[in-house]
Assembly symmetry: C2
């Protein structure tokens, strides 16, 4: 079970609805996990059935009502247990890397174009994450924030996401350049 713990983690210091989680786990936004809305609603139902979450209908004016989910004690315990359990490293699994490996079978210019396009996307995502991180800091220096903030988890994970996207962009540009130069 994988999404499971990502959902529990997301609900750690705020309650969220399925729709809000969808936005959090959306591609382009998520720094620490990705999931589509369909998967989330299924998972939320399971988590509620297992007693790890409780859902509460929230009546809204101006928009449809929503069900907001909160961690139960059991849910929090399960999350804590998960953080202690050993996990194996996972490697990158990205079609673009396979394409790069298969460069010899590809049209060099078209592959370079794809790499450049991805570089742009990754750059944009990195910038978005950087903004989010700046918001978390709220004016403080990073060192200060890491010492004093209540929950530094989102900052730690967000930083990894930012690094990943930046580096992806750097590599894409480098590889595209290498292909174009031939």
């Amino acid at each position: 079970m994988a999404l499971r713990h990502a959902v529990l983690a997301a609900l750690l210091d705020r309650d969220l609805s399925g729709y809000q989680l969808t936005k959090l786990f959306d591609l382009g936004v998520s720094s620490f996990w990705h999931a589509a809305s369909q998967q989330l609603y299924v998972e939320l139902a399971k988590l509620e059935a297992d007693g790890l979450l409780t859902g509460h209908e929230v009546v809204q004016q101006g928009r449809p009502n929503k069900r907001v989910f909160a961690l139960t004690d059991t849910g929090l315990q399960e999350l804590t247990r998960f953080t202690l359990a050993p996990t194996k490293p996972t490697s990158i699994r990205d079609d673009l890397l396979v394409k790069a490996y298969a460069a010899h079978a590809a049209d060099r210019v078209k592959l370079a174009e794809q790499l450049e396009q991805r570089a742009t996307q990754s750059q944009a995502k990195a910038e978005y994450l950087e903004e989010q991180l700046a918001k978390l800091l709220g004016g403080k220096s990073e060192a200060e924030y890491l010492r004093t903030a209540e929950n530094i988890g989102p900052y730690l994970a967000g930083t990894r996401g930012k690094m990943y996207e930046r580096e992806q962009a750097t590599w894409c540009m480098w590889a595209a350049e290498a292909l174009r130069a031939r």
Copy 2:
């Protein structure tokens, strides 16, 4: 279909047996894709049935015989087609990132230990990949190699893997330090 193209790419400039592919796609080794042997043998059977590969028994002395697979023309075409097809970006999907996000629910020291352990693993993997890359260079400078080598694909993909592991190690140490300092 995912592993499919990774296998075709791996067979692009040399023929390999299921066992050799297993080692290539093994965790700890793979820079561009991961797969377990069970999955590989199934995939190889499918690829052969689909006419993208052909297998040939190779009689060996001193060890069990093996079946070596080679790309067919159709297989090569399929790989080329794949390199041209658009693909979406994929984000990191790593339990360790979820654990970091859930830092507030975790034992800080134990989480730091896990991060440090992962840093060590990633460092080792990065060094292994660096050796592989040096072998590919074969004494040439990178610039020279990228200009003149027949197939730079493995070098491009391997470099991404190396970068990823190095950065993972850096982040793990940084995050562990942040957790320990509290």
